[in-house]
Symmetry: C2
Subunit: 214 residues, 2 copies
DNA sequence: TCTGTAACTTAACACCGTTAAGTAAAATAT
DNA sequence: ATATTTTACTTAACGGTGTTAAGTTACAGA
């Protein structure tokens, strides 16, 4: 058995190597400039070999998209110990924007690019392991908002809808930044418009409850 | 002179036809599935002819991107007669989301796809005519918020930053919807999550000022 | 009538994702 | 120990992409 397990291990290693190389190229030059052929060349295999490990290009980027959620959850995990749920909510929004600004290409893949969603559509992967990570991230937000509601915040609002809306608000900032729509409008002398906008969203949350502005 | 003016007119007509055809194909099958060769085939010219009228593909989609802003401003113009600036602001956010949902491909081009921003970068087109339309749209939002501030809303907040933040919030909704990230998270029984979230943003604006919830 | 230019096309370059068919080596069965 | 099957990979190709260099054709002005 030791010989077949070695083979299996080697297969997994190559699959991991493809993924790791795809990630590296993706970080270096972005999704649009990364091809299957580029990946193949760098790992010194023929392009067709990649198709023995992944169904198609979408499938590769779907896998990376999963890794992105693991990384995002690392940003979130540090926030678990923030006791007050309202403060935690605001910390989540800052952490989210920080994650996006520090990992632009990952963010693109996770929330903007069509490719990984195509992979999801093709075969119903929705109940696969990797989505645990996606659910964990969104769940953290939902739970925090539910705690807020339990404490008297956001009275009468639906927790899940509010979670989605909050997500939308910070996502808007991040995606405008990443897809370069800030520079167009920013003759305002704001050097870091994204973070400033994030602060303003938190300020808006504050004002909803008449907490004195910072 | 009448003969050379005719020629000039014909040139403009062909340029317009290219654009119109690009738009049609774009609406039919989306940006990713529209090629220069597709456009050429439909207008019954060779692909290279298109390069006599547009620098490259980005240039074509930059031009369409401009048309999108004209269309968006049509949605906005109907809101000019809303007297109260706070009500107008909420009407703007609804109109914006409506525009996005009704013109998904245009929205994609205007606010998500990289291509038109590349064209902007290449030659500094920033001071060109078409951006009048972009500025008009954003200016309408800024002016409305300035009026709100003058009436005592959003005390102590910077109008331009708040305008950008408001834009971000609704853009977040629209881009998650357009790039299919709603379905992933929406086991919530919300059939029209985007509009519901837009309503919630308006509700948040309301609560910032203790106006009774609807 | 000759010449130059404007408008357009043909052919090609260098890429892309993807697949069918082939190969060589190793594992398994006889 | 030999024959057969399976595994892991490659070669070659298909049909597409954006883009450009070079060639053609028709027509305006001299």
């Amino acid at each position: 058995m030791t010989i077949s397990t070695r083979k299996e291990r080697q297969k997994e290693e190559l699959k991991a190597k493809i993924l790791q190389t795809a990630k590296a190229l993706f970080m270096e030059r972005g999704y649009e400039e990364t091809s299957i052929r580029n990946i193949a060349e760098r790992i010194e295999y023929s392009p067709t070999t990649i198709y023995l490990y992944f169904k198609d290009k979408d499938d590769i980027f779907y896998a990376l998209h999963g890794e992105g959620f693991v990384l995002l959850n690392q940003y979130f995990r540090a926030l678990g110990h923030v006791e007050d749920p309202f403060e935690r909510l605001k910390a989540i929004s800052k952490a989210y924007v920080t994650f996006a600004l520090e990992n632009g290409e990952f963010y693109d893949l996770m929330f903007i690019i069509r490719s990984p969603m195509n992979a999801l559509e093709k075969e119903k992967k929705k109940e696969e392991l990797n989505w645990e990570e996606g659910d964990r991230a969104f769940g953290f937000l939902v739970n925090t908002i539910e705690e807020c509601i339990a404490k008297g915040y956001f009275k009468g609002m639906n927790a899940e809808v509010l979670a989605f809306t909050t997500w939308s608000m910070v996502h808007g900032i991040c995606s405008l930044e990443i897809r370069n729509r800030c520079s167009v409008v920013s003759e305002m002398n704001q050097p870091n418009l994204a973070m400033t906008a994030c602060d303003m969203i938190n300020e808006i949350l504050n004002r909803m409850h008449n907490i004195s502005p910072s």
